[in-house]
């Protein structure tokens, strides 16, 4: 043990504990504010969608314009996968709260696999959708919204991956599970956002 | 206290008089050459009167307070603990609200008047392109010109389009301005009331030559205008 560590150990010169002036946990509040900001980022993309599709006097009457098609069914199956992953995420969190470590890990892995499947399907969809970014404003908003969402899924998967690694090393317990809860909140947000994106781009 | 009020009012009136002189002695607006700008100028003066009043009031209180109640930097007494005054606070919420609503109503009326086209205005298409204007008279076999020629006293409806980027059609003496936007058409009305030559200026940054994207607007008598058009049609 080095002298420095020794010194730090003996003389604690840390700050006084801050007064907790709200019942809300700082990290949870931070995550919700971050999500509010993220929702507004999606909002700006939806605004672009609204201008291209509704306000623009030259908006296409058909969506998507001839001769293009969106793979509504495949994306629908993909939606089902992602929504299911929200439930497994919730199950994983509840399990670690009850101290059921195996169920927690199983839930996390299931969530991760479903999220990954979603992203993979999305990539395959991009490759086979039959149009590219330069094929008109409808393609811009299609790739814009789904791409923005895909990036969020990728970030979410990274967070889930971290949770899984730390989960296997036994860092979470019924008392300490913020590391699961926060990525979980984010993951639910990503799922809810997809339902909106799917409805706006594919269905309406 | 009475003496103080008199002094305060004197400062306020002094500032107000100076500002009024500044507002009146300099010619802040270009000479109006359109009916629309006449109305805008009335509105401008209305806003100016209110502005001079508010600025004089605030500045007078600041100057008077500093003059009356300034203490040396090392003074260590405190002022009277006045936390607020509900009546005053209501007053200075309500009065500005009334004033801005008055300006708002006046503005809305002017806007409506300036936006109401009479029957059969002269139709002119203004096309913005880096870095020149092209005016097309659709009533007269699409006669096109780089110079804008308008008959005196006749309402003109400009329909604006842009080829490449956003431009903004502005004749300072007409007081009317509108962007020419790629992909959509926009409109503005002008009724020239003064003979002469005026500048057409591009008011929206449109690239390297934005500063030099100017044209000439000429308001002529109706007969002259007819002659000019006929010459072009031929």
């Amino acid at each position: 043990m080095s002298a420095h560590a020794e010194a730090a150990h003996h003389e604690h010169h840390g700050p006084p504990a801050a007064h907790q002036s709200s019942r809300v946990d700082a990290r949870v509040l931070g995550m919700f504010l971050f999500i509010a900001s993220e929702a507004m980022l999606f909002g700006s993309f939806f605004t672009a969608y609204f201008f291209v599709r509704v306000v623009n006097p030259g908006a296409p009457t058909e969506w998507p314009p001839e001769p293009y098609h969106f793979p509504v069914f495949v994306a629908g199956v993909n939606t089902a996968i992602l929504v299911t992953s929200s439930f497994t995420m919730h199950w994983a969190l509840q399990s670690i709260k009850r101290g059921q470590r195996t169920a927690f890990l199983a839930g996390m892995i299931l969530t991760f696999v479903m999220g990954f499947a979603f992203l993979l399907t999305q990539v395959v969809e991009y490759l086979n959708v039959g149009f590219n970014t330069g094929d008109g404003a409808f393609a811009s908003v299609f790739f814009g919204l789904t791409g923005l969402h895909g990036a969020h899924v990728a970030v979410g998967l990274t967070l889930l991956g971290i949770v899984i690694v730390r989960g296997f090393r036994g860092h979470y317990s019924p008392e300490h599970h913020h590391g699961v809860e926060l990525p979980g909140i984010y993951w639910h947000f990503v799922d809810v956002m997809w339902i909106v994106v799917y409805s706006a781009v594919y269905l309406i | 206290m009475r003496k103080g009020i008199v002094q305060l009012v004197a400062i306020g009136v002094g500032i107000g008089v100076v500002l009024t002189l500044v507002a009146v002695l300099f010619k802040w607006l270009p000479t109006s050459a359109s009916e629309e700008f006449d109305r805008i100028q009335d509105l401008y003066w209305f806003a100016t009167i209110i502005s001079i009043g508010i600025f004089s009031l605030v500045t007078a209180v600041v100057v008077y307070s500093v003059w009356k109640w300034r203490v040396p930097d090392d003074d260590d007494a405190d002022g009277p603990p006045i936390h607020g005054h509900t009546g005053l606070e209501i007053l200075w919420t309500a009065v500005p609200a009334v004033l801005v609503i008055a300006i708002g109503v006046f503005s809305a009326v002017v806007l409506a008047q300036n936006g109401r086209a009479g029957d059969r205005p002269l139709e002119v298409e203004a096309l913005g392109q880096q870095f020149a204007w092209k005016f097309t008279y659709s009533d007269f076999d699409d006669v096109a010109s780089g110079e804008l020629v308008l008959p005196l006293g006749r309402e003109v409806r400009f329909t604006m389009r842009a080829v490449d980027v956003i431009h903004s059609f502005w004749v300072p003496n007409f007081g009317q301005k509108m962007d020419a936007v790629p992909g959509i058409t926009t409109e503005i009305l002008v009724t020239p009331t003064r003979l002469g030559e005026f500048a057409v200026v591009c008011a929206e940054l449109c690239g390297l030559g934005h500063a030099t994207m100017r044209a000439k607007a000429r308001v002529v008598r109706p007969a002259e205008f007819e002659a000019w058009i006929e010459e072009r049609q031929a």
């Binding site: 007064h19 509040l29 700006s44 306000v55 814009g144 | 500093v66 005054h85 956003i166």
Partner: protein, 654 residues
């Protein structure tokens, strides 16, 4: 062992924790330890990785050509390199440790506090250090932005082109505005608040100190990106700070630096805002109810809400322009079915609230200064706080007043005009309350107070010209002219910059522990005040008379007045030199400041100057309002034995 312990105990007496020193040589630490050196080489290394990634993906996708300079630049130089730099200076060290699955480290506070000037060039988690980092950085960019203004004012002294070409002129104008907005006003307020807000709240630090450090380091990245745009072929971005599409879409490569720089600056301000909100909500000292918070805290609370909600919109707008530029999408190209005005709506949905982001913290600073220097409670405290919320709410409903002549839907004009004009009501409340606070006060007319009063009067002019511009018919004549330039400078220079100066002078003794030179401060104020008015007031006139903005050439008739404006602007630039001289000399050898030279009641003045490393030995108990001047026996807070700590420190210094 004991000897070493004692030796280090010497430092510990000052309250500074030990920095963690790796068991390596000095050279090794320089090159591979967290810091600017590692930041530089890691940034360079990942540029290559980014480029490789682009080429690999394009090859896999089958897109030719595999090498696209523009995309490589965006991914390699503007995304990967900054991340590499941040990793190199050590912003991510703790998080990477966590991510790799190792057990969490207890915080050792090794990244806390600054002992030498070198510590200011490292990742530091101390909100006071970060606040000063912010301020020094922002004043650096303020200087550069100001020099650019001098350059194009020299060009504008006469009609026609003299010094620079048209592209450079437009570039200078655009980069000037961008630096002043994104690298000076917004972050300078964040810096002042970073220093003051946790102290004012009775908190030991911000809620997320590591995030706080990261948000600072994003800032120089954004600033350098804006400046670097001058170096690429085609020159700097030249479509104005508003970067209207489709002009911005046809610009040379420099525009992309704007698109990406805004993302970094925006991310920085969102993170800071989030941090402020969480700090204010969860870390107030016991007894510090919302109605006992100083108005600076209120101001930063509302500002932060604006930032968190609005900033993503400018991110979106610049993403769309960039996609249109490099991925050939059609968001704003009418030929492809895009809608040009969409850009302006999305842009102004951020950039109008941004005006309040640049103003509300100034309101907070001025409230602190006026109340303290006039020795009176702020007049109508609750209404002052509520008017901030009023501006916050109204601020989201006025964006289209920037578009009265843009060709947007006619029916939007009158509602937007009414909401715009109504903003005068909460703003008026604030101005009248400040003047009422002066009334019968005991006014000490020192430098911060001069700037605060200068602000009140100049801001009224800016607000009143705002009424003209809010009225649609007048705006139709005056928009896009020098009247706008005058208005924005009365609001942002006479408004925001004056409050930043007021704040810097006000908290200077607290930040540095030394006093600035009062005579130089007053000279700075008067020279700035006079030359500011001489520069910007005539702009109202040339604008109304018919001079459009963003032009290098103009009608002969405006020649004399523009010459006058240019001369005045050089004086304005020179006045800043006095400020820099005053700050630098006072910081290094000014007289030692008392802990509370202004006899203010708010919490930051109840600790030593500069404050102890963890702000408070024990969290104070708040027992009353923050501005109870003149109320017999009134206290804002009861301090724990922090006084002893101060005494101890003075002993050490002696």
């Amino acid at each position: 062992m004991t000897a070493t312990h004692d030796q280090h105990g010497g430092h510990a007496a000052e309250g500074y924790p030990e920095h963690f020193e790796p068991p390596r040589g000095r050279a090794w630490t320089m090159a591979f330890g967290p810091g600017l050196v590692r930041g530089a080489w890691m940034a360079l290394r990942v540029v290559g990785l980014g480029a490789l990634l682009v080429v690999a993906l394009r090859a896999w996708w089958g897109w030719s050509p595999y090498w696209d300079t523009h995309i490589v630049l965006v991914v390699g130089a503007m995304t990967a390199a900054p991340i590499g730099f941040l990793a190199g200076i050590g912003s991510f060290d703790y998080w990477l440790h966590y991510v790799s699955g190792r057990p969490t480290r207890p915080e050792d506070h090794s990244g806390h506090g600054a002992r030498t000037w070198r510590d200011y060039f490292k990742v530091n988690t101390d909100h006071k250090v970060i606040g000063i980092q912010y301020l020094v950085t922002t004043f650096f960019f303020f200087t550069i932005g100001g020099l650019m203004a001098m350059l194009f004012r020299a060009e504008l002294a006469q009609p026609g082109l003299q010094f620079v070409d048209s592209q450079t002129f437009n570039g200078l104008v655009s980069v000037h505005a961008t630096l002043m907005i994104f690298l000076f006003i917004i972050p300078a307020f964040a810096g002042l608040a970073n220093f003051a807000v946790p102290l004012m709240l009775g908190a030991p630090d911000m809620a997320f100190p590591r995030l706080n450090a990261l948000s600072f380091w994003l800032l120089p990245i954004a600033g350098l990106m804006f400046l670097a745009s001058f170096l690429v072929p085609g020159g700097a971005f030249a479509s104005g700070w508003t970067a209207y599409a489709p002009l911005s879409e046809g610009q040379p490569m420099g525009q992309t630096f704007f698109n990406m720089g805004v993302q970094w600056a925006g991310a920085s301000s969102i993170m800071t805002a989030l941090n402020f909100l969480v700090t204010i909500i969860t870390m107030r000292a016991p007894g510090m109810t919302f109605w006992r918070m100083p108005l600076l805290v209120w101001a930063n609370f509302t500002t932060s809400l604006l930032v968190v909600i609005a900033t993503p919109f400018i991110a979106g707008s610049q993403f769309f322009v960039m996609f249109d530029r490099i991925m050939h999408t059609d968001f704003f190209t009418p030929e492809g079915g895009g809608y040009v005005l969409g850009y302006q709506h999305i842009f102004w949905f951020y950039s109008h609230p941004a005006v309040y982001i640049m103003m509300l913290p100034g309101f907070g600073i001025v409230s602190e200064v006026i109340s303290t220097m006039a020795r009176k409670p702020i007049f109508g405290y609750r209404l002052m706080a509520l008017s901030l919320i009023g501006i916050l709410v109204l601020g989201f409903s006025v964006w289209a007043h920037h578009m009265f002549v843009a060709g947007m839907a006619d029916w939007l004009r009158v509602p937007m005009m009414i909401t715009t004009l109504l903003i005068a009501v909460p703003t008026g409340i604030k101005v009248f309350s400040w003047t009422a606070t002066l009334w019968r006060g005991r006014i000490r007319l020192n430098t911060p107070m001069l700037f605060a009063l200068g602000f009140v009067t100049m801001f009224v002019i800016g607000g009143l010209s705002g009424i003209y511009l809010g009225s649609v018919p007048i705006d139709i004549h005056a928009s896009d002219t020098y009247f706008i330039v005058a208005h924005i400078h009365y609001v942002l220079f006479g408004g925001s910059v004056f409050t930043i100066f007021a704040g810097v002078y006000y908290w200077f003794p607290k930040m540095t522990g030394r006093m600035y030179d009062e005579r130089l401060g007053k000279l700075h104020f008067w020279l700035t005040f006079v030359s500011f008015n001489a520069t910007f007031f005539p702009m109202h006139y040339v604008g109304l008379r018919g001079m459009p903005r963003r032009v290098f050439d103009y009608a002969e008739a405006f020649g004399q007045l523009n010459f006058f404006i240019s001369i005045a602007s050089f004086v304005l630039g020179a006045s800043f030199v006095i400020f820099v001289y005053n700050i630098v000399t006072s910081w290094t050898r000014g007289p030692v400041a008392e802990s509370n030279p202004w006899r203010a009641h708010t919490l930051e003045w109840q600790v030593s100057s500069p404050p102890p490393i963890f702000n408070f030995d024990e969290i104070p108990q708040v027992v009353g309002g923050p501005y109870e001047y003149g109320v017999p026996g009134a206290r804002h807070a009861v301090m724990s034995p922090a006084k002893e700590h101060v005494a101890e420190q003075e002993e050490v210094h002696a």
